[in-house]
Symmetry: C2
Subunit: 385 residues, 2 copies
Amino acid sequence: MTRVAVIGVGCTKLDEHWDKSLKDLSTEAGGMALKDAGMDGKDIEAMFIGNMSGGRFIGQEHLGALSVDHSGLLPIPATRCEAACSSGSLAFRQAYHSILTGQHDIVVAAGAEKMTDIGGTNAIGTLMGAGDQEWESSIGLTFTGLYALMANAYMKKYGLTREELALVPVKNHLHGFNNPFAQFKKKITIEDVLKSSLIADPLRLFDCSPLTDGAAVVILASEKIAEKFKNPVWIWGSGQASDSLALHDRQSLTETASAVHASRSAYKEAGVTPKDINVAEVHDCFSIAEVIAYEGLGFAEKGNAKELLKSKETTIGGRIPVNTDGGLKMGHPVGATGIKQVVEIVKQLRGTAATQVKDAKIGLTHNVGGSGATCVVNILGKEKK
Amino acid sequence: MTRVAVIGVGCTKLDEHWDKSLKDLSTEAGGMALKDAGMDGKDIEAMFIGNMSGGRFIGQEHLGALSVDHSGLLPIPATRCEAACSSGSLAFRQAYHSILTGQHDIVVAAGAEKMTDIGGTNAIGTLMGAGDQEWESSIGLTFTGLYALMANAYMKKYGLTREELALVPVKNHLHGFNNPFAQFKKKITIEDVLKSSLIADPLRLFDCSPLTDGAAVVILASEKIAEKFKNPVWIWGSGQASDSLALHDRQSLTETASAVHASRSAYKEAGVTPKDINVAEVHDCFSIAEVIAYEGLGFAEKGNAKELLKSKETTIGGRIPVNTDGGLKMGHPVGATGIKQVVEIVKQLRGTAATQVKDAKIGLTHNVGGSGATCVVNILGKEKK
């Protein structure tokens, strides 16, 4: 079976793009990825696109056809994949697998979401489509509320302090300061986090990722094609798993079983352990999500994630820098986020990231749907496995 | 590379299920498919689910996790696929391909949609998410309107009469009369069609598929597993293609390029020609769609589809019966339809369909998203290819 590499990447600025539609953003990111690869689109054989809620945000489903149509790629097949905020990673996985079947050699994986300038639509209500409609959104829960429940349970169980939790956004804002695509470029302090508006106790404004418009595109190729390109970065493994949709059905509020299963699958396929990872993009939709993810991914033992933050092991210069582009705090266009994470890891492994990890050879992306009902983990390598 | 077979099928009654939620319907269809295969769910390794617009219809995205959760299949990966009314076929194709990668041996492909009893949501407006939001739905076009434009163009170009167009629903209502899952069991005449309410000239009530709640599930397995089951039906080929999202961007209103491309891909993979097909499920969302599909699929030359209808070649007992379960006129739960079509073809090839084609050996499904922007064609065989 062929190996698969990423040969081109593109990402729009993550922002409130009141002057650009979803298809403008997708097309822009696609053009950047083609230019980055040094190719035109004529050899692309299929497209997979992650999008969470085009139907509710902008009245537009059927984004596969929309995207290939406006990219001039007709009549290639186009498939939209959705699992809430992990939709982009599903598209990446399907694109990867479509090459493994032997049916395609060059495939696009895209992600796009338009979340602002959407008329009368309620963005917070729309996002709750990622949770359980019958048991969560119908009673008024929001995603900040769901993660606040997890934060309270974790802080009580493991003694994490509010100040320690603030180390997540402080680190990510530090990393994101150099990111040319970031929605917010602003270094912050623990005090800034603690003084910011309370959104859902204990989570404050600086603990929350924003509403963002944006698109990201990566181009994947089979081994024989990829080797003709200048900067292939190789896919070593990919894992995906599910957990109960509603938070109250989980066995624990302080662990994410889907991250455990997805990462173990990815590590197994890649033939590596958590200790081999040099750089990671971790789904920090809310600060507590990054804390719990460290443990699900095996970066830290249960209850010990704070030690990675306090010792700066996950800060640039540390042992395993996490969210070197600033993570979701720098913009979270939900369906695009999983692809944006791959873009950053590819840049890290090429050695061209804005906040570069020295000698990064193996990188990981961790992308979550809802409060953890879906998790996708991808592992990429600078060299062929 | 392994061959892949369908080893179990299930479909709920297609109806207005005011007493059942989307997850009730999915779980019911899944249970039927497991029972049909003669297995429990513990060996299932992944799920793909087609759904067009859970977000807008019922406020619920993230249907992959919802479905595996309530089917007791956690923590397997679950991916929702969407391309409007062809969403079910995308799920089927992804499930098929996931086995071709060698990563899985037993995979579920599901489709589900809840379109009635949906509170204040506008179903017709929601369905227009399948078209071009900027250029079609924003100016008030509906899907009946889009297909009416195609019908008028076709009738003018090829001299198809209103009476000849009525042969499509008359045939499909005849076929569907025996279908235990049909939403409407009623034989009709040409006169009934012509006297029914005008919806969008020239299309009348009996030319239109209904709003439907329903779910369908098929279980796919690799060759080594499938051969242990009693009734494997083999996947010979699958093709998918895209066309411009907006009707006005097409080169022709009387042809569907996506059907031509998708069917040619499927025929090539299957190693067959249109003449080899013994039975077909064709996407008759509106009567004109079935007429144009005959030509896109190569069953008839351009402008000659009416001859197949007039000579009853596509009626049961004819050379190539089409829509033996009554087609979409007997219920069109949009995201489920592509899977429901596979259910019928599997039953035909097993020899257990309600309206059985004698000695059917090769069957085809043709599933369309929007007004033709996505088309998926699958070819299945009674024997291993």
